[in-house]
Amino acid sequence: MSERLARFGLPLAVVGLLALVVAVGPNLGLRIAGSDPAPAGRLIEVLDRLPADPAVLVGFDPDLGTYPELRPTVRTLVADLLDRGAGLSFVSMTPEGRALAVAEMARLDRLGAPRGSVTDLGFIPGAEAALVSLAGAISGQRPAAGPPGLDELDGTDLAVVVGGNDLGPRSWVEQVAPRAAGLQIVAVTPTVLLPEVEPYRASGQLAALLTTPGQGAAFRERTPAGSFPALAERAGPSPAAIAAGLLVAAVWLASALLAGGPARRLLRPTARR
């Protein structure tokens, strides 16, 4: 196989294959929602225990690279919370998270979220120190400065942390939980954070956690459409496309490990010189 084909042809073939699978949309009997339904059940239990019209603080700090993995689940969770009459306060501690939060709040406004149900607390600077000040506001300490709404966090019933960036569920557990007694924290994170956040679920420091597309899909399947079906995003990434991509990656990796394979030359370009 020529070097040009190995370098350009294979990526083109992979993109073409994925585009074909996405366009044709074959299910192939694959269903990612069934892989691990228990975490979705735990999250639904936490949501069911909330009081009527709960006050929910949404720590929105995903990153652009992994947000597509979370987006359908996050949107469905937000729609479900609004259906339960929740007041949502969005806050971000990272600039990237703030950009995505602004986009999501604009979408909520555009698609008809109830007026007054979404509060924008904006971007709070200071990383861990910001979380400490946020914990103080939740505990009833009046903040000295900051955006309007920050002094109304006393009595927050639930914190939903959308992770992916530096200040994710781990930072919330370390900085907010010890200072805001009784606050329940649930999280939605990308798969890549699974090893970091799973111990917090196991120890109960996170009341619930969705951390893979399968767990997210299980939550979406078990969550009723409610009053705001347009706000939820039911369809996740195509299971067939994921399976096809993983198969290609496995073959690619295997060929990279075998001498003379085209992927080996692609992955080790200096070896050609």
Partner: protein
Amino acid sequence: MNGLATDASATAIAALATVAVLGGLLGERRVFGWTQHLFAGLLTGYLVLIAVREVVVPWLVTPLIADPAGRPELWIGLAMVAITALSPWLPRALAAVPVSIMVGSLAAFGLGGALVGTLLPQAAATVVAGGEPFGVTLAAVVSAAITVLVLVGFLHGVPRGRASLVATSAGRWLMVAGIGGWLGYLLYARLVLLIDRIAFLVGDVAGIGR
């Protein structure tokens, strides 16, 4: 411009940028390079906007204007902002003050939180106090063994003796397996991102399958 036109133009720009980035995957370098410069410029502008609109004005300027005499700590903060902005022209010892305070406070909060929020609760959650099912005890023993082996593999530069060599080697393989698992998760996340972008082009832009 109405909302619909704004949406359409945003979709068109997003589609063009996506095609340019995917072009980089397929070997196209010039447009891909322009796209990177565009993203870097947008990011810089965005960060300046965030710093001014969401940090300096609401947290510093507005409270100072409202109560200039009652908030002395904000004057110190304003001085730190000025020192940071002028740091290339100031003595190194002076320019280091705001950065030192920032790093010190982050380390203090980080270490304190790691101790109170992670180390102690996680240690308490994993301690085997007796009376647990056999599987729990076995899992704890295996976890402890893996932790010890990885630490030995990580810290033992030059193993001496056969037992030390075997432990170090096993620890390093376990560490590589862990890194491999993490890379697998990363691959999965990037694959979902790629599929999401392709689905955007195929479904939202081209309208196929919708």
